[in-house]
Symmetry: C2
Subunit: 380 residues, 2 copies
C-alpha cells in the first residue's frame, strides 16, 4: 500500500528530526483560520475568487502596511508592498526581474541553503562572503567589491537561518551605503524579523535606505501558517511595478487573492498580533529548553550562541567532526539535524549542524538533544 503524502516533512513517530525548519504542527492556528474564513465568506463579495490585481488585493495590502508599521517602527505605505506566495517566490521574482543569467550574487557564508537552489535555477553565480557572529563582515565585503560587483547581495539580516546572527545597526547602515556606492541591490530575507524572544533586533534593512537599494521579502509562513503560501515583497513602487509587469504575474493574475482575503480579516481583527505574542512565548521557552539540553548533553563538545529570535541553533563541533558523515549514526539513534555543509556556498562548514527549536515541544527537544549527546557528546 502506498502512503499518501500531504506535508513536506513527515518524520516517523520514532524520530525527532531537529533538522526540520518549520513551525510546530501543534501551534498551527486552525480555529483562528476557521473563524476568519467564515467571516470573509459570509455575505456576497466574491472578488476574492477573481483574478487579482497584480500587486495584490488593495485592502489586504493596507492591512499589511498597518501591521508592519506597528512592528517595524517606521511607516510602511501599502504602495511599497506586493503580495507573493511566500518569500521563496518573492526571491525568485526579484531574480527574474533584476538579474540576467550569468550575473553574480553575493551571500554570507553560511547562508540559507534553499536560496542557493533558486539562484542556481536562475543561472546566477554565487560568491560567499565571510561572516562573524554579527553577520556579514563589512570590511570583507569592501575588499570583494574592489574586485567585482554583484547584481544582488542576498542576506537574512535578522536571526539568520542558520546562524541566528543579527546584523547590528551600524553594519546595516554601511551595507546600504556600499550598495549605493557600488550600484547593487540588496535582497533582505526578513521572515524572522518579528520573532524576537529576548531583545528586539534593529529595524528592518529598509529603514537604513533612502535610495531604493533594499528589497525585502517577508512571509506569513513563520508567523501564521506556511500552508497559506502568503508573503510579500517590500520595495519602491517603481520596482514593484517592474515585478508586477513580469510575464508570470501578468498572465497569472495577482498572487493568492483568496488566502490574502482571509488573512486580511486576521490582520484587521488584531488576531495576528495576539497569535504572534503567543508564539513568541512558546518559542522563547523552547529556546531555553534547547539551550539547557545542549549544555547538559553536549557540554564542551558544542559551541553555540543562544539565539534571541528566529528558529535555529547553529552548533559548532570539533574541527575534526563531519556532521554530514555522522547524520546516519544520529538517525540510527532516532534524531536528525541539518548538516552544516548545506549552508555553505563552497562545501565547507562540515563541523556545524543546525537545530530547529520551533517544531517540537520542550520535552521532545530535551529527548532529541539527549540522543544527539550519545553521538556528539563529550567523551563519545
Amino acid at each position: 500500500m502506498t502512503t499518501i503524502r500531504t506535508t513536506q516533512s513527515s518524520p516517523d513517530a520514532a524520530t525527532i528530526d531537529l533538522g526540520i525548519g518549520q513551525p510546530g504542527p501543534d501551534l498551527l492556528p486552525l480555529a483562528l483560520l476557521r473563524e476568519a474564513t467564515a467571516m470573509r465568506l459570509a455575505g456576497d463579495d466574491a472578488t476574492l475568487l477573481s483574478y487579482g490585481y497584480e500587486l495584490g488585493d488593495g485592502y489586504f495590502r493596507r492591512a499589511l502596511g498597518a501591521f508592519l508599521t506597528a512592528h517595524y517602527g517606521f511607516a510602511l505605505d501599502p504602495e511599497s508592498l506586493m503580495v507573493t506566495t511566500g518569500s521563496s517566490q518573492g526571491l525568485d521574482l526579484i531574480c527574474s526581474c533584476f538579474t540576467e543569467p550569468g550575473d553574480t550574487v553575493f551571500v554570507g557564508e553560511p547562508t540559507y541553503f534553499l536560496a542557493l537552489r533558486i539562484f542556481a535555477d536562475r543561472h546566477l553565480r554565487v560568491v560567499g562572503l565571510p561572516v562573524d557572529e554579527q553577520g556579514i563582515v563589512i570590511e570583507a565585503l569592501e575588499e570583494r567589491l574592489a574586485a567585482e560587483r554583484p547584481a544582488l547581495l542576498y542576506l537574512v539580516p535578522t536571526f539568520q537561518n542558520p546562524s541566528g546572527a543579527t546584523l547590528p545597526a551600524e553594519r546595516r547602515a554601511k551595507l546600504v551605503a556600499l550598495a549605493e556606492a557600488f550600484d547593487f541591490l540588496i535582497v533582505a530575507d526578513e521572515v524572522y524579523q518579528l520573532l524576537s524572544y529576548t531583545v528586539l533586533p534593529p529595524p528592518p534593512l529598509a529603514h537604513y535606505d533612502n535610495g531604493g537599494r533594499v528589497l525585502s521579502v517577508g512571509s506569513f509562513s513563520k508567523i501564521l501558517a506556511p500552508g497559506l503560501r502568503l508573503g510579500w515583497i517590500q520595495a519602491t513602487p517603481v520596482q514593484l511595478q517592474r515585478i508586477a509587469g513580469s510575464g508570470l504575474l501578468d498572465s497569472g493574475g495577482g498572487l493568492n487573492p483568496f488566502t490574502s482575503n482571509l488573512v486580511k480579516v486576521v490582520l484587521e481583527k488584531g488576531w495576528q498580533d495576539d497569535y504572534l505574542n503567543g508564539l513568541k512565548e512558546v518559542y522563547g521557552r523552547r529556546v531555553e529548553a534547547m539551550a539547557t539540553a545542549l549544555r547538559r548533553e553536549l557540554g564542551a563538545a558544542a559551541d553555540f550562541n543562544v539565539p534571541h529570535g528566529g528558529f535555529f541553533f547553529w552548533v559548532r563541533l570539533a574541527p575534526s567532526v563531519d556532521t554530514e558523515r555522522l547524520l546516519p549514526r544520529a538517525q540510527a539513534q532516532g534524531v536528525g539535524f541539518k548538516p552544516g555543509i548545506h549552508f555553505s556556498s563552497r562545501g565547507a562548514l562540515r563541523n556545524y549542524m543546525r537545530l530547529c527549536f520551533a517544531y517540537y515541544d520542550e520535552a521532545t527537544i530535551a529527548t532529541g538533544v539527549a540522543r544527539l549527546g550519545s553521538v556528539f557528546g563529550n567523551g563519545v
Copy 2:
C-alpha cells in the same frame, strides 16, 4: 482619494470590455466555496496549514486524478499530477526545469500572448509556426524542424486562445510522433479542454503519447475560480520529480496546500461536475448571443468561426483594418476588445480582434457588439 484595487480587470461600469478573458463575475461560486471551506476546516486536521508535499497534497491529487479520468476518457494516475498555483506557473516551472536561456520555443501564430511574456522572462527565443483553422499546420512544422530543433513546442490544442481552433486527432498523433523523432517536448496548455458547448474535442494530447513527450498544464481558473490560484501539471513521475526538485519548490514547500484542500472537498462531493455542467450551459448561450450579434452588427465586415468551446471569438476584419489603432475609437463608444497584434510573435495579425463571451451576460454582449458595429460594421 486613491481607488483601492482588488481585481486584475475592473472596467468602469460604462464600458463593456470584451477584451477581458475571464469567467463572468456573476458566475463565481462563492456559496459552493463557503460550504466546502466550512466542511474542510471543521474538525482538527491542520495539515493544510503546514508546508505541503512538493508534488501537492496526496488526497487532492487522488481526487483530481479521478475527476480528470472521468472527463478525459483515459485513466490518469495521481502520480502523474502535481499541484501548481495555476497554468502560468506550471508553464514557468516547466521552462525553468526543461530549458536553458537561449533555447528555442515553437509556438503557433496566433498564440496565447501572455505565454510569450513568460518565455521572454526565461530568455527563450520564440519561433512562430503557421496555423490554419485546425491549429498548427503539421507540414509547416516538419519544414521548420528540418532547419532547427526547439527545446519545447507550446500550444493550446483545444479551443485555443485566441482562435478557438481545436487540433484534430490525426494532427495530435503526428505532433507527438514528431516530438519523438526530433527529440523535443510539447507543453499542452489545456485549460479549456473541459469547456465544450457543442461537440466534444479529441482527448488531451497526452492520450497520443507513450514516450513522455507531452507535459500538460491545467487549471481551476476557468472551471471553478481564478482567485484560488490552483492548477496542475500532468507529466511522467520522473519529469514531475525534476520539477519538484527545483529551488522554488524545495524552498517554498508544496504549492497551495490550503486551497487545494478546499477544492478536494469540491471534487470529492461531485460539486465540480455540477458546477461545470451549469457553466457549460451558460457559456453555450453566451456563444449563441455573441454569434447572433456579430452577424447582425458586423455582417460581411467580419469573418469568424463560432467556437465549440473555450472563451473566445477570433474575428477577422478587412486586411486594411488595424484593430490596435482603432481600439481607442471603440473605447470612446464604450466597448473594448483585444487587438490581434497581441497574439502574434512577430507583430502581425493586425486585422484581427479577440472577443471574450464568458465575462458578460447575453444582453450585455449584444449591447457591446452593437457598439463594435458602429466602429467596424458594414459601411462604417
